[in-house]
């Protein structure tokens, strides 16, 4: 069987495959998954999320348990969405006495019907730097939310939250506008962002009217010493809706989690089913061909793993060892090879009685030669179908095991996301966006492989029957 011949066979196979709509749908979804899985890190809004999925600091500027942005229906109230504003304009002035002053301005177009939860100024830098943070509203008024000397440490983000520490300054600003309104305001109670983003009125605290339009956030730094500096200033708007799929209770972006979960789903699904089917097919052929004691032993081992419930077994294993994803894959392989074994065993039993196998034996062919040249190629097409069909089972298994808390917590898999959702009461708290997307993705990936497997099965089975 030459290489060219294999290519021809492949072409023929593709012609037949193209006729199956189901197969094409499955293949398209799978290709999409593979593409997104490989280039996902360029799509996600939070680069570096893979390594920082369980790092609380990484997610601290996100709103907690915020629904997806598209829950802002066109006819309903528009909740402010979370945004990262990084587009900063900068200019440097020389002041009297040679002191340098650097100013950044970041524009923000505010159109929501509700004020955001928080506005966070974040920047990196070195040295003791006096920093002034201010907001200029569309009505031309400027609020200085902070003016203090900040101790900047290299490679550490300095954050200033208007909600947490800006209340006093905001009330001060209102008092400057209209002392009457501000008398009843207490720094511990007011919501500073609400005051910041609404028109000045007597009932602005209880019934605010939003002041929509262009806001400008200004960061002004004074460099008193030579090597002090401020870098990469950003303003983070923490809204009430966030991202394509919302956030969870730990403030993590679920869309990011879903995208980085694709890779693990593919790795677990494909790798496990490949090894599983390979072992199952090999043992099936060996047991059937050699028969006798080998057959008996392999069949008893098969029955053992077939009947053994995997979940209680895994619970015990997880209680004793720390299960990594590779161990989990190995365990699933140990339990799942039995799926491919029996059908292949049956087929090989039939094949070994074929006259051409007998003819080959009469010619003096060794057992391994017959297995590799005559029996293996005959069961191989079927094995591909079995492989495709076993992928969803494996993915669901990883998810099941993860939901039970027996998975590898160091990876981001859909099962792990569901496990967190289950553990933190997503369903009770009506955080549907935390549960539905990973569940749907598991179903979608499973579906793509089932479609592929069914199409393969249809193409390969009749050939098998008619040889």
């Amino acid at each position: 069987m030459s290489f060219r011949e294999n290519l021809e066979g492949l072409g023929e196979f593709w012609k037949e495959f193209r006729r199956s709509t189901l197969g094409l749908v499955g293949l398209t979804i799978l290709i999409l998954f593979v593409l997104v899985g490989s280039f996902g890190q360029y799509l996600i809004p939070f680069p570096g999320a893979t390594e920082n999925w369980r790092n609380i600091d990484f997610w601290q500027d996100n709103p907690q348990a915020a629904p997806p942005v598209w829950t802002n229906l066109p006819w309903g109230t528009q909740a402010a969405s979370s945004e990262f504003l990084t587009d900063a304009k900068t200019e440097t002035d020389e002041l009297d006495g040679g002191v340098k002053q650097q100013t950044w301005t970041i524009n923000y177009n505010f159109t929501a019907d509700q004020a955001p939860r928080d506005v966070i100024f974040a920047f990196a830098g070195i040295g003791q730097v006096p920093v002034i943070l201010s907001v200029t509203r569309p009505d031309g008024k400027t609020i200085e939310v902070s003016r203090e000397q900040m101790d900047l440490v290299e490679e550490q983000l300095t954050r200033f939250s208007v909600t947490n520490t800006g209340a006093g300054k905001v009330i001060e600003f209102i008092r400057g506008e209209d002392a009457e309104i501000a008398t009843s305001m207490l720094a511990d109670i007011v919501k500073p962002t609400r005051l910041l983003f609404s028109k000045i009125a007597s009932d602005m605290e209880t019934n605010p009217v939003m002041l929509k339009g262009e806001y400008v956030f200004t960061i002004k730094a004074l460099y008193l010493t030579e090597n002090s500096k401020v870098e990469n200033p950003t303003v983070r708007i923490s809204g009430f809706v966030s991202g394509l799929m919302g956030t969870d209770i730990s403030k993590r972006d679920i869309f990011t989690g879903i995208i980085i979960g694709i890779r693990w789903a593919l790795i677990i699904g494909l790798l496990t089913s490949l090894i599983t089917v390979l072992i199952g097919v090999l043992l099936g052929v060996i047991a059937a061909y050699f028969g006798g004691k080998i057959d008996w032993v392999i069949n008893r081992v098969y029955e053992y793993f077939y009947l053994m419930p995997i979940i209680p077994f895994l619970i015990v294993i997880a209680a004793i060892f720390k299960i990594t994803i590779w161990w989990l894959i190995a365990l699933i392989v140990i339990f799942f090879w039995s799926g491919a074994f029996k059908p292949v065993y049956g087929m090989a039993l039939q094949l070994k009685e074929e006259v051409f196998v007998e003819a080959s034996r009469a010619l003096g062919a060794s057992s391994w030669r017959i297995i590799l040249r005559h029996i293996f190629p005959m069961v191989l097409p079927y094995s591909f179908a079995v492989m495709a069909l076993s992928v969803p089972g494996v993915i669901v298994y990883e998810a099941t095991v993860s939901i039970l808390g027996l998975g590898d917590p160091s990876i981001v898999s859909w099962g792990q996301i569901l496990h967190d959702a289950e553990g933190q009461g997503a369903v009770i708290n009506n955080l549907w966006w935390w549960v539905v997307p990973p569940g749907l993705m598991i179903a979608l990936m499973g579906m793509s492989f089932v479609f592929l497997g069914t199409a393969l099965d249809k193409i390969l089975q009749p050939k098998l029957k008619t040889r």
Partner: protein, 365 residues
């Protein structure tokens, strides 16, 4: 092993390439609960003591009804089945139970043509792959070019030419006759000394049968091969073979030169087989013949006592029910196992002996 050779082995060891001595194959069958409890091990005696000699350059026919054990005999000779009892002697060497080392040597010298040429080739292989397989197994021809040359030569021998046209075809792209030619070529490519042909033309159109047999006979003469031709078709056997042995229920009933056996059959079973052959006589084609045989072939699990053919024989006598006849010389190189070929006195003595034996066995039991 050579000391218990049957008395009818009359050919010199020099001439003989393969000897089969008292070959038996018993297959165990599924037991009833009662048999399991009784500790009985019932079995089918598919082949029940077959002995013959195959000379160099000779074609020996093995003829009989379906189920008489002729294919099982062929498979045991091919070492595809392990004999329950008996031995195979190849060129004076006992090869019944050989280890892997010498078995490969035997396999190279003894080849088989199967009944269904299509089933005997891997449907995924091309003609050139089918023919290359024996060369690869026996490591004949060091380079691809050498092997292709051998394949080309053997395809010419079986008249499948040109090489370019057929080498790339799959078995299903060949006609039945061409397939059997390729199957024959596969056996010839290793230059064997014995070929076991198990009904090689029964799956082939009547029109091409003679052609295939003719081709086989030509290569047999050219290469001085010994052929064991297994068939149920006595008319092709007459055309093709030098000697014929007639098998019934796992045993040889009659053996001798083809013309002699067919023209003067000395066993009622042979007579029945021969008269069953259709003769295309004008006006008589639709007439049913009355055959000199009754009943059906008994199960090989319950072989009748005495002569195994007596239940169906029109000429059965008292002795036939108790004593099994031996192969007796009835002509030149011609032997038959039937009491009809003995005189009254012998039959009476044999019958008394057998009855006495049965009685003594019944007593001890």
């Amino acid at each position: 092993m050579n000391d218990n050779k049957p008395h009818y082995f009359e050919f010199d060891d020099q001439d003989v390439v393969l000897e089969v001595i008292n070959l038996q194959k018993h297959f165990p069958i599924r037991r009833h609960a009662s048999e399991v409890l009784a500790g009985a091990h019932p079995f089918v005696r598919a082949v029940d003591g077959v002995s013959f000699q195959l000379r160099r350059g000779e074609i020996l026919g093995l003829v009989g009804e379906s189920g008489c054990g002729k294919t099982t005999t062929g498979k045991m000779i091919m070492k595809l089945l392990e004999p329950t009892h008996g031995s195979l002697v190849f060129n004076g060497e006992d090869v019944t139970h050989t280890g892997k080392g010498s078995e490969i040597h035997y396999r190279r010298r003894v080849q088989m043509v199967f009944q269904d040429p299509y089933a005997s080739m891997n449907p995924r292989f091309k003609v050139k792959d089918v023919l290359e397989e024996p060369l690869l197994i026996h490591k004949v021809g060091a380079t691809k070019a050498e092997r292709v040359q051998k394949i080309r030569a053997v395809m010419e021998k079986v008249k499948i030419t040109p090489y370019e046209e057929y080498s790339e075809r799959h078995p299903h792209m060949l006609s039945g006759g061409q397939r059997q030619r390729i199957a024959t070529a596969r056996t010839l490519i290793l230059e064997p000394s014995v070929i076991v042909a198990d009904e090689p033309v029964s799956m082939i159109d009547l029109s091409t049968r003679a052609e295939i047999l003719h081709m086989m006979k030509t290569v047999q003469r050219e290469m001085e091969l010994s052929f064991l031709y297994i068939t149920h078709d006595i008319s092709t056997a007459r055309y093709f073979t030098d000697r014929i042995s007639v098998m019934y229920l796992g045993k040889i009933m009659e053996i001798g030169p083809s013309d002699s056996v067919i023209d003067q059959p000395m066993h009622p079973y042979s007579r029945a087989l021969i008269s069953a052959v259709c003769e295309p006589v004008p006006g008589k084609a639709n007439e049913l013949k009355v055959l000199p045989i009754t009943g059906e072939i008994p199960s090989a699990a319950k072989i009748p006592a005495g002569c195994r053919f007596h239940t169906r024989c029109l000429e059965a006598m008292e002795v036939c029910k108790v004593a099994e006849p031996e192969l007796l010389k009835v002509g030149k190189q011609h032997y038959a196992a039937c009491w009809l070929n003995t005189d009254e006195e012998t039959r009476r003595k044999s019958r008394e002996q057998a009855v006495a034996q049965l009685e003594s066995r019944a007593k001890t039991a």
